[in-house]
C-alpha cells in the first residue's frame, strides 16, 4: 500500500438530494497534523463522520492504514480514534469507568487497560477528576474526556471535530499543546473554524467550501508566501502616498481616520516607518503587527467562491 495513512478518493455524500460533500480527495501522511477549515455547513463534520465510519459514503472510497472503511470496517477502525462534535460521554459514568470501558471497546487487553487509562488521564489533565461523574464536569473537562477517549488505544489516526469549542482560553492553549504532542506520534485530522488554531497547530491546511476542496497547502509555505503587514494609527494623519514611498513598504491601505494598514515588502521590518514617524512628528501611538494571512486567504477564497456561485 501507499504510505498515506488516510486516503480519501473521490468522496461524495448526499443527504437525500442535498450534496454535502462533492468529489473530495485528499490523503494524510503519517505524523502529519491536517487542519480542516471551512465556513459552517461546508461539510467538515460530514467528512469526518464518513472517515470514522459513522456515515456511509454515497460515492468514492475511504481507506485507513490500507483498510477500506466499508469492506474491512473493523480493521480500519482499529487504527482510528474519533472525537465527534458532541463528545460521546456517558453522563452517569465516572471518568475512570468511562475510559476503562472505551479502552475495552477498543480491544485493549484486560491487563493493560489501567495503564492506558492512566496514561491518557495524565496526557489530558484528568488525574484529579477520575472518580467524578462525567455529567457533573464542566464542558471543558467533558471535552477533555472526549479527547482522552479518542486516544486511549493509541490509534495511528486521530480525528478531532472542533476539539476546542466551548473551552476557556487557558484550556484552549492546553488542548493545542496536547494536539501538537499527539502530532508527534499520531496523524491528526482536526476541524475548526478558528484560523489561528490551524496556524499554530497544523502542518497542512485544507479549506473546503460547499463540500469541495478549494485550497490545500502546508502552513509553512502559507506563512512564508504572504507579505506581512502592520496596522498603525497616527495622531496627525498624513496622505497614504507619503507612507508608501518609505523604504520597506510595499503599499498602504487607508482605514478609518488616522489609521492605516501598511503592507511591508518581504523580509523587511517597519524601521523606516517608525523613524519617519518620529522625525516628522506624525504622532504614532499604535503599531500592531498583523499575522492574518490565513484569515485573509480564507475570506478571499470563500468569498470569491460565493461571488462566482452567484
Amino acid at each position: 500500500m501507499t504510505e498515506a495513512l488516510v486516503q480519501v478518493e473521490n468522496l461524495s455524500r448526499f443527504y437525500q438530494n442535498n450534496r454535502a460533500i462533492n468529489h473530495l480527495s485528499f490523503s494524510l501522511k503519517a505524523g502529519e497534523v491536517l487542519g480542516f477549515l471551512g465556513p459552517n455547513g461546508a461539510g467538515k463534520s460530514t467528512t469526518m463522520q464518513v472517515i470514522s465510519g459513522n456515515l456511509a459514503p454515497s460515492e468514492g472510497e475511504v481507506s485507513i492504514a490500507g483498510h477500506d472503511i466499508l469492506e474491512a470496517p473493523k480493521a480500519a477502525k482499529r487504527h482510528l480514534g474519533y472525537l465527534p462534535e458532541h463528545p460521546p460521554v456517558y453522563r452517569d459514568a465516572s471518568v475512570d469507568e468511562y475510559l476503562r470501558y472505551c479502552a475495552r471497546l477498543h480491544r485493549i487487553a484486560r491487563g493493560q487497560v489501567l495503564a492506558s487509562v492512566d496514561r491518557v488521564k495524565q496526557l489530558c489533565g484528568l488525574e484529579d477528576v477520575g472518580r467524578r461523574l462525567i455529567g457533573n464536569l464542566s464542558k471543558g473537562y467533558q471535552q477533555r474526556v472526549g479527547i482522552a477517549q479518542a486516544i486511549v488505544h493509541e490509534p495511528q489516526v486521530v480525528i478531532l471535530d472542533e476539539p476546542t469549542v466551548g473551552l476557556d482560553p487557558i484550556q484552549i492553549r492546553e488542548i493545542r499543546e496536547l494536539i501538537r504532542t499527539l502530532g508527534s506520534q499520531h496523524s491528526v485530522i482536526l476541524s475548526t473554524h478558528i484560523l489561528s488554531e490551524v496556524q499554530t497547530t497544523c502542518d497542512r491546511v485544507q479549506i473546503i467550501r460547499a463540500g469541495e476542496l478549494i485550497y490545500s497547502a502546508s502552513t509553512e509555505s502559507l506563512n512564508q508566501g504572504h507579505e506581512s503587514s502592520v496596522k498603525i494609527a497616527l495622531r496627525n494623519p498624513v496622505p497614504p502616498d507619503e507612507l508608501s514611498c518609505l523604504a520597506g513598504v510595499d503599499h498602504v491601505e487607508a482605514l478609518e481616520a488616522g489609521r492605516y494598514r501598511v503592507f511591508l515588502s518581504a523580509n523587511s521590518n517597519p524601521d523606516a516607518l517608525v523613524t519617519a514617524a518620529v522625525q516628522q512628528q506624525w504622532g504614532l501611538y499604535e503599531l500592531i503587527p498583523e499575522q492574518q494571512s490565513l484569515e485573509d486567504l480564507f475570506i478571499e477564497l470563500t468569498h470569491h467562491q460565493e461571488a462566482t456561485a452567484e
Binding site: 470514522s52 465510519g53 456515515l55 473493523k74 452517569d92
Partner: protein, 249 residues
C-alpha cells in the same frame, strides 16, 4: 466485545434507581399475590382431597401467579428496553460504539445480552417463591422448569421487540409506548379468533398468550420454542439492519 457492552448495560441499569425500583415493585406485588394464592389453596385443600386426579399445588398456586407476572411484565418491560438505544441516540453516544472496531451485530447483541442479564435476575427472584414451596410440600419440578423456561423465552421476546422499537427513535417515551402497543397487540391478537373462522389458526398461532399458556401448563412443545426463537432472532436482525441503515441516511 459483546460481553463488554453487556456489562456496561447492566451496570448502567443498576447505577440508576430504575432497576432497583422495578425489581422491588414486581417482587412486592407478586409476593402478595403468591400469598393470596397460597391462602386460597389452603381453603380449597379439603375439597381437593376428595377429588380424583387433583390439580397439584403447582397448578393452583404457581401457574396463575406466573400468568399474572407475565401480564405485569408486559407493561414493565417497555420501560426497561426503551432507553437502550434511544438514549444513546439522543445523547449522541452511539458514535462511540460505531467508531470502535465492532460490528453492528456486536452492539445489538451486547445490548440484548445486558437486558437479558437483568431479565435473568428478575425471573430468578420470582422463581424463589415457588421454590420456597419445597419447604412444606413437593411441587412438580418438571413443571417448574417448564415455567421458568417459558418466562425466560417470553421475556427475551419482549426484550427483542423493545430493543428494535428503541432503535427506531430518539425519544424514549415513543419507544416505550410503541413497545407496549406491539406487545399488547401480540398478546390479544387471538381474541378475534372466535368470529373469523378462517384466520383463526393463524391469529392464534401469532398470539404470545397461547404459546405462553402451554408452557405454563408444563407442555414443552417445540413449536412454541420455535415461535419464540423466530421472534427473538427476527427482531434482533431487524435492529441490526436498522442501525446499519441509519449510516446511509
Amino acid at each position: 466485545m459483546i460481553w463488554v457492552i453487556a456489562r456496561r448495560e447492566i451496570g448502567a441499569m443498576f447505577c440508576s434507581p430504575l432497576a432497583w425500583i422495578l425489581l422491588a415493585v414486581i417482587q412486592t406485588i407478586l409476593g402478595y399475590m403468591f400469598l393470596a394464592n397460597l391462602d386460597n389453596y389452603f381453603l380449597l385443600q379439603p375439597q381437593l382431597m376428595q377429588l380424583e386426579n387433583t390439580p397439584g399445588v403447582t397448578d393452583i398456586v404457581i401457574t396463575p401467579l406466573m400468568h399474572v407476572a407475565a401480564i405485569i411484565l408486559l407493561m414493565i418491560m417497555p420501560l426497561l428496553t426503551m432507553r437502550s438505544i434511544a438514549e444513546e441516540k439522543r445523547n449522541r453516544t452511539l458514535s462511540l460504539l460505531v467508531s470502535a472496531p465492532l460490528g453492528m451485530s456486536d452492539i445489538v447483541l451486547g445490548k440484548f445480552l445486558g437486558l437479558m442479564l437483568f431479565v435473568f435476575i428478575l425471573i430468578t427472584m420470582l422463581m424463589l417463591m415457588p421454590l420456597s414451596l419445597y419447604l412444606g410440600t413437593s411441587p412438580d419440578s418438571g413443571k417448574l422448569l417448564s415455567i421458568y423456561l417459558g418466562m425466560l423465552l417470553l421475556l427475551a421476546t419482549f426484550t427483542a421487540i423493545g430493543l428494535y422499537l428503541s432503535s427506531l427513535t430518539e425519544n424514549q417515551t415513543i419507544a416505550a409506548i410503541s413497545t407496549f402497543g406491539v406487545l399488547l397487540m401480540l398478546w390479544i391478537i387471538d381474541w378475534l379468533g372466535g368470529s373469523v373462522s378462517n384466520g383463526h389458526s393463524v391469529l392464534s398461532y401469532l398470539s404470545l398468550l397461547r404459546h405462553h399458556q402451554s408452557m405454563l401448563e408444563g407442555v414443552f412443545n417445540s413449536s412454541d420454542i420455535a415461535y419464540y426463537l423466530l421472534l427473538i432472532v427476527g427482531f434482533l436482525v431487524l435492529t441490526i439492519r436498522q442501525l446499519d441503515r441509519e449510516r446511509l441516511l
